[in-house]
């Protein structure tokens, strides 16, 4: 089922995009930073969604690609002076190589479902502990980018405004890419593989190739998100970036928004991130030092969504607001 937006929804989408483009004119720094977070999670969620939502391969180790992307680009910049616009290619290549290794192992040896998810966790955790001991990359002490160099957009050294538009472009780009991929040959092959691998194989689909394509595209895209976070946050710690909780954060938005839908990750990010921020602000206001509240709420959101609306919020929203024309 491909979501085809009706004319009314298209107008809404263009309006939303225009509003977001103009947002820096009236939004304060805090609101901008929240929007950046939303775009980021919409972006990496979209990348994960391509693999799980469309091709049906559950990865719980996407933090691996974020971390690799971040580390490769940051190291190139810090050690060799190669800027992130070039470094991103290396970052994507390294992450895709890891993705290829995991995919090859998983799909060649028939590691499927939960086992595949465990394989992805194992790789991410393995890499996390490994990076804890790579002195060249700062080991457990982390890697820091100097923050005083600003005003160099060509090296991604800039202020909130630059990162805002970059994040918006990433999120919008991933949305457009997904919408396009969903209508291509490989997109339909993914759906076939997701629904019934044996039937897909019987139809003559090269299942291995389709799944590998999903892993490669997904890991490569996620690495770009890693480059973004590295230069936006200016610091990298193995225990933070490769942590399994980061992988879980990535999958929240697409699941809440709607797995395997083009708009699900965006809708999910627009729901979850602001709610988390409100919750943090609320506990701060009440003077409660409650470090786990936001995460506990995310956990609750996951359970509620999967119990009540396993298809996610977007399909329901689209129906209620009559935004889509369902074509087959």
């Amino acid at each position: 089922m491909i979501e085809a937006l009706n004319p009314r929804a298209r107008v809404l989408l263009v309006g939303l995009l225009a509003a977001l483009l103009a947002a820096p004119l009236f939004a304060d720094r805090y609101l901008m930073s929240v929007l950046i977070l939303i775009f980021y999670f919409a972006y990496v969620g979209q990348a994960w969604n391509l693999m799980m939502g469309f091709a049906g391969q559950l990865s719980l180790g996407h933090a691996l690609y974020v971390g690799l992307g971040g580390y490769v680009s940051a190291l190139l910049w810090l050690k060799l002076g190669i800027g992130p616009w070039l470094g991103v290619f290396a970052a994507v290549a390294v992450a895709a190589a890891f993705g290829a290794a995991i995919g090859w192992l998983g799909f060649r040896f028939g590691i499927a479902g939960v086992y595949f998810a465990l394989l992805t966790i194992a790789f991410a955790e393995f890499t996390r502990i490994g990076f804890d001991h790579i002195d060249y990359a700062g080991a457990a002490g982390g890697l820091f980018l100097r923050v005083e160099e600003t005003g160099q957009w060509w090296n991604l050294r800039g202020g909130t405004l630059m990162f805002y538009y970059l994040a918006l472009a990433l999120a919008a780009g991933a949305l457009a890419l997904t919408a396009w991929l969903a209508r291509t040959r490989i997109g339909y092959q993914w759906l076939a593989v997701r629904e019934d691998e044996e039937a897909a194989r019987a139809l003559g689909i090269d299942v291995f190739r389709a799944k590998m394509a999903a892993v490669l595209i997904s890991s490569g895209l996620t690495a770009v998100g890693g480059v973004f976070t590295a230069f936006y946050n200016n610091s990298l710690f193995p225990s933070r970036v490769f942590d399994i909780n980061r992988s879980i954060e990535i999958i929240l938005a697409p699941i809440v928004g709607g797995l395997g839908t083009v708009f699900g990750p965006v809708v999910g990010a627009f729901i979850l991130t602001p709610l988390g921020e409100v919750l943090t602000a609320l506990t701060d206001r009440l003077g409660i030092n409650a470090p786990g509240v936001k995460a506990a709420f995310y956990g609750l959101a996951l359970m509620v969504i999967i119990v009540l609306r396993p298809a996610g919020v977007w399909p329901w929203l689209a129906r209620v607001l009559r935004l889509t024309e369902h074509r087959r």
Partner: protein, 289 residues
């Protein structure tokens, strides 16, 4: 270096591994019968560790004793959880079960963080530093007791599944669900019982774990992964496999801690997991289905 240190480390690994094994046994039982992967397994273990910590700190109850009420309480939690929530996910898509339990796991981790804070919560037993000298080998008293208790619980569970009518009925559900339903077994109740038993293992293992490790919220995901690694190593559904896998992981982590670096010990476990997944997905003691 004194050569007996290697033996000591191995013995220590075996003893710790038996406690790991009991924890993994719970996961194996739940997956083997209910076919739901309990992704909140390690988080429940940590919750049991905190329960043991509380009972010790408030009432001075030794975790070796507290393990009984904790296991009973966890049985109740598991039974209720299966009936109220998990049962409606039986037979649904794998990722949906996974997400439900990940949500639960996140809530437990952060709930314990909210209640107990991020600091480690140890139990200081009066005999905490005692040890036995067996031949040339020094063995920690707490570890030996914990391992013995873990073996006892595992043996009790094994006898239950082997020799009681209910245990046989549960095994029937695992072997042939449709057949079990046809002969009139109450699958819903048996599943709840199984999930309860799985969590009872976790409750007991957690209480024992508290004597050899300090409770910390972030241990949850770590133990979940260890339990999964053990179960996959040993072979899903194989009860003996869970104990053997536990010992294997316990020993390999202890040796890796000695030879490489303590902080890198779980790398060995993850490498083992990747190897076993690729080369022998049915596990070391499981049968290919």
């Amino acid at each position: 270096m004194n050569p007996s240190i290697y033996l000591e480390v191995v013995v220590q690994g075996v003893l710790t591994g038996l406690v790991y094994g009991l924890m993994a046994l719970g996961l194996s039982v739940i997956f083997g019968v209910v076919r739901v992967v309990n992704f909140a397994h390690g988080e429940f273990t940590v919750a049991a560790m905190y329960a043991a910590f509380l009972l010790f700190t408030l009432f001075g109850i030794d975790p070796l004793v507290a393990m009984v009420p904790i296991a009973v309480a966890f049985f109740g939690i598991g039974y209720g959880l299966q009936l109220a929530l998990v049962h409606r996910f039986v037979g649904r898509a794998e990722h949906e079960q996974f997400i439900l339990l990940i949500g639960l796991a996140i809530i437990i981790v952060n709930g314990t963080l909210l209640i107990f804070g991020a600091d480690a919560r140890p139990v200081r037993l009066p005999y905490g530093f005692d040890s036995f000298l067996i031949g040339p080998v020094i063995v920690d008293k707490v570890r030996l007791y914990a391992a013995a208790a873990a073996l006892t619980v595992a043996a009790a569970l094994f006898l239950f599944f082997r020799f009681t009518a209910t245990g046989t009925a549960i095994r029937a559900c695992a072997d042939n669900l449709v057949g079990a339903a046809v002969v009139g077994l109450d699958v819903r109740k048996l599943y709840a019982l199984t999930f309860g038993l799985g969590l009872a293992c976790v409750g007991a293992a957690g209480a024992l774990m508290e004597t050899i490790a300090d409770a910390k919220p972030e241990l949850g995901p770590v133990y979940t992964l260890i339990a999964f690694i053990i179960v996959i190593l040993g072979g899903l559904g194989s009860m003996a496999g869970a104990l053997v896998g536990g010992v294997l992981i316990g020993v390999s982590e202890a040796l890796a801690g000695l030879f490489i670096a303590p902080s890198m010990k779980s790398m060995v476990s993850f490498a083992l997991l990747i190897l076993v997944l690729a080369l022998r997905p049915q596990g070391l003691m499981g049968r290919r289905t």
